[in-house]
Amino acid sequence: MTTADFAVISDRAIMFAGIIYALALLAHLLEWAGSLSRPAQAARVVVTTAVTTGAPAGGATALEPPPPAGEDQRALRVETAGRVGVALTAVAAALHLTGVVTRAFASDPVRVPWGNMYEFTIAGALGVSVIYLALLRRLRLRWMGLFVTAFEVVVLMAANLLLEQAAGPLVPALHSYWLAVHVGAAVLATGAFSVGALASTAYLLRGPLERRGGAVAEMLPSRDALDRLAYRVHAVGFPLWTFAALIAGPIWAEYAWGSYWNWDPKEVWAFITWVVYAAYLHARATAGWRGRTAAIIALVAFATLLFNFVGINFFFGATSQHSYAGG
């Protein structure tokens, strides 16, 4: 097969991955819609009985009528929709992986498939799917399916429409195995931080949703579980980012540019991201900052990461020595 064949396979695989992620998203939407209609009904029953009998809340449960006949079937439908969503996500992730791997073979000589912004986006998004699928059972991440698939659909679409770039060899500045190490670690860290940001967002939304009494809150794990999950994922992303931005990056910069730290806009923002995530880890262990404030800091850190990727590449990249990252 020629490089052009691989390029076509890669593009097709990414396209189909996007379509299947969209189907998975649909399945998860059905899952949510199905389960949202049920607890809301149950809640209403409890409230009315409690009011009419004047019994304490504990007693109200006992007065609740047995679930209607269709309830089991509905629960089954919800469960099936969720499972179908996960299965489709796995298929999409496999195609996604194929797309990333074949992209490596789409240039001569073969190279790592993260040599420009399009490829970085695709690889980082793959990281999110893989982390989600790998931790699905251990950390009970089923609730995240809706958000992960929505994220994948949006990101793959944006990559395809805005960043698409034909496969080809690298500019000489990237001829180094540090590309594999430095950018590879950054891809992984970005994937972990994206999952962390999802968990932190869910954490922040959980409270208000719960107060409004919506059934949406019950679809999410408890606030404690979300906080723990966010911390664990961030705790994996942070050392990866430390390595990518503050060890591998400077070593490569020393080889390529003659100075390991140049206050290049990309470096500055990588440093800012690092500092804000460090603040998150500290905030989580500080009374008064724990919880809400810490989660907000994590999201601010994620925003700096995104700004570094989008803002610096597109708007402030003129002076950046990382300019090839955009092109």
């Binding site: 500019v171 000489p172 942070f238 430390t242």
Partner: protein, 547 residues
């Protein structure tokens, strides 16, 4: 600053329910008042440190938006020219040099003080904790987050001995046998590396900063454009730009010298990325000092020449058209002129000055197109390689303004004292020359000839002492960070009591790390290893075991 950074101790240290059982555990080394004061001080300094961290992130932003003198001095002067009113304000705020401005330094120095103020007492605390025995078992183990119990017929002493061996095998530190204090229980603790990692990480931050500052103060970085075929020796006069650290001694420049013997560049000729460079490399012949033998080195972008005390990097390349100018009196000036590439197509801008020209000085400015192409009036370069090189210049005569002694950039033509060669007012003559072509200047003012082109390379020569220190600090810091994030601090207790003819074994555990999971499993496995029947979950086990 890191009282409980990366590590919240849950349970014992901060009893939420205030139960006497729990607070009796881990007797504080200080009285309650000092303890409160100590906790308060730690808490406030941590909060301050957090604010300082966020402030540091905020303070770093302007330097990525406003051009920085140390990064790109050309961009700074361009910016100043474009914003005459803002420039004095920015100047006062140090915005052109954020990272050594007073306010940026203030933030990170305060952070460093806070860091040291945290590391020192915490190291002492850690040192004591390291030597202290694992705390005694709480009276009521059942209150701990993970608990398991079962009956056995084994002798209590045997079970305790077995528990000790088991816990040691699982990398716990086990308290010595203590017949007076707690005759019936075994205490164990693990995960001291977590705090060690935490301390190591924070110490490393300081090491990295020291290494970085050392390099900034004592190092230097200079750039030089060297024509292919010519040489360079490491003295100040040979640099086009030179950025020394504030404590750098110019006599300390390594006495290296080299010739750029050859330069290769290849561009992609076809495909979607046509015009992108495939590879470029310069062949050097260098001497570490005048006495040492000459050696060869092939310099590439990611493959610098690294010698003792100096490194040479290939950072760019470009064209130098070789021009011959004959003035009105017949004097000939000849030589390659460096043109600076303006874009990826290597359309390059340059200036040619003939200060010795008579009767009048001559000057030219314009473009070099390696692959000349033109749509209508505007020429451009269609490809970065020199496939059809053309020089396209405007000419001037008069006073170049070089005689008053003020330094002038070789890339700029001061046209204030010059007159442009024009066919008619407002219609300048453009001299488009192919290699070997000569064009006569109007009015018998001489001629200009494009002989051909040479290439030049932009080299960066620098020395950054202390980089080994910074790197080792960073690597140690990462190891410490990982230990502080992933090592689990855990305490475990096994209490064995004889009741009637049977032995009651209780196993309990406590996690002292944030977000650690699997404590229940750990306690269940310990219980099973001590002879408990296989259980499915610890809470039900406690009910089942109640006699």
């Amino acid at each position: 600053m890191t009282d409980t950074a990366l590590d919240t101790s849950a349970g014992l240290e901060s009893p939420r329910d205030g139960s006497p059982d729990v607070s009796r555990e881990a007797p504080p080394p200080l009285g309650p008042r000092e303890l409160v004061r100590w906790a308060w001080r730690q808490l406030t300094s941590m909060r301050t440190a957090l604010l300082l961290l966020l402030l540091l992130a905020l303070a770093a932003i302007p330097g990525s938006v406003v051009p920085q003198r140390d990064v790109d001095s050309l961009a700074v002067s361009r910016w100043r020219a474009d914003h005459p009113t803002l420039t004095p304000v920015y100047e006062r705020l140090g915005l052109f040099s954020v990272y050594d401005s007073a306010w940026f330094s203030a933030v990170y120095l305060l952070l460093m003080v806070s860091l040291v103020g945290c590391i020192v007492p915490r190291t002492a605390v850690y040192w004591r904790a390291l030597r202290a025995a694992p705390p005694r078992a709480p009276k009521n183990l059942r209150r701990l987050p993970a608990y398991s119990t079962f009956w056995t017929d084994a002798e209590p002493d045997a079970v305790r001995a077995q528990a000790r061996a088991l816990l040691r095998g699982r990398h716990y530190r086990v308290a010595r046998d203590d017949p007076d204090g707690q005759p019936d229980a075994v205490s164990a603790e693990r995960g001291h590396l977590r705090e060690a990692g935490n301390l190591l990480f924070h110490i490393s931050v300081i090491v990295v900063l020291v290494g970085f500052a050392y390099g900034q103060l004592l190092g230097y970085k200079g750039g030089a454009i060297v024509m292919v075929g010519r040489g360079f020796s490491n003295t100040l006069s040979q640099y086009d730009d030179f950025n020394p650290g504030s404590l750098f001694d110019p006599d300390g420049l390594a006495p290296v010298s080299f010739d750029v013997k050859d330069f290769d560049v290849r561009f992609l000729r076809s495909g979607p990325q046509a015009g992108q460079p495939v590879d470029f490399a310069a062949d050097l012949a260098y001497r570490e000092d005048p006495a040492s033998p000459e050696r060869d080195y092939r310099l590439k972008v990611n493959e610098p020449l690294q010698l003792d005390g100096v490194s040479v990097f290939l950072v760019g390349h470009g064209y130098a058209p070789v021009m011959t100018v004959t003035d009105g009196d017949g004097n000939v000036t000849k030589g390659p002129v460096v043109f600076l590439p303006q874009d990826a197509s290597f359309a390059s801008f340059g200036v040619l000055k003939v200060p010795d020209g008579s009767p009048e000085q001559l000057g030219f400015e314009g473009m070099f197109y390696p692959t000349y192409a033109s749509t209508g009036q505007d020429p451009y370069s269609a490809f970065p390689d020199a496939l059809r090189p053309v020089v396209s210049l405007f000419g001037y005569y008069g006073d170049l303004g070089m005689d008053d002694g003020a330094p002038q950039s070789v890339y700029e033509l001061d046209t204030s004292g010059l007159t442009r060669f024009e066919r008619a007012p407002g219609n300048p003559v453009r001299f488009d020359l192919e290699p070997g072509e000569t064009i006569a200047l109007p009015d018998g003012k001489g001629s200009i000839r494009f002989d051909g082109y040479r290439r030049w390379v932009k080299l960066q020569v620098s020395d950054t002492p202390g980089k080994g220190l910074a790197l080792s600090g960073m690597v140690l810091g990462l190891l410490g960070l990982m230990a502080s994030l992933f090592v689990r601090r855990r305490r475990a207790w096994v209490r064995v009591t004889r009741q009637d003819d049977h032995t009651l074994v209780e196993v309990a555990g406590l996690d002292r790390s944030t977000a650690a999971e699997g404590l229940d499993d750990e306690v269940r496995r310990l219980a099973e290893a001590l002879g408990a029947p296989a259980l499915t979950d610890t809470t039900s086990s406690s009910r089942r075991a109640t006699p």
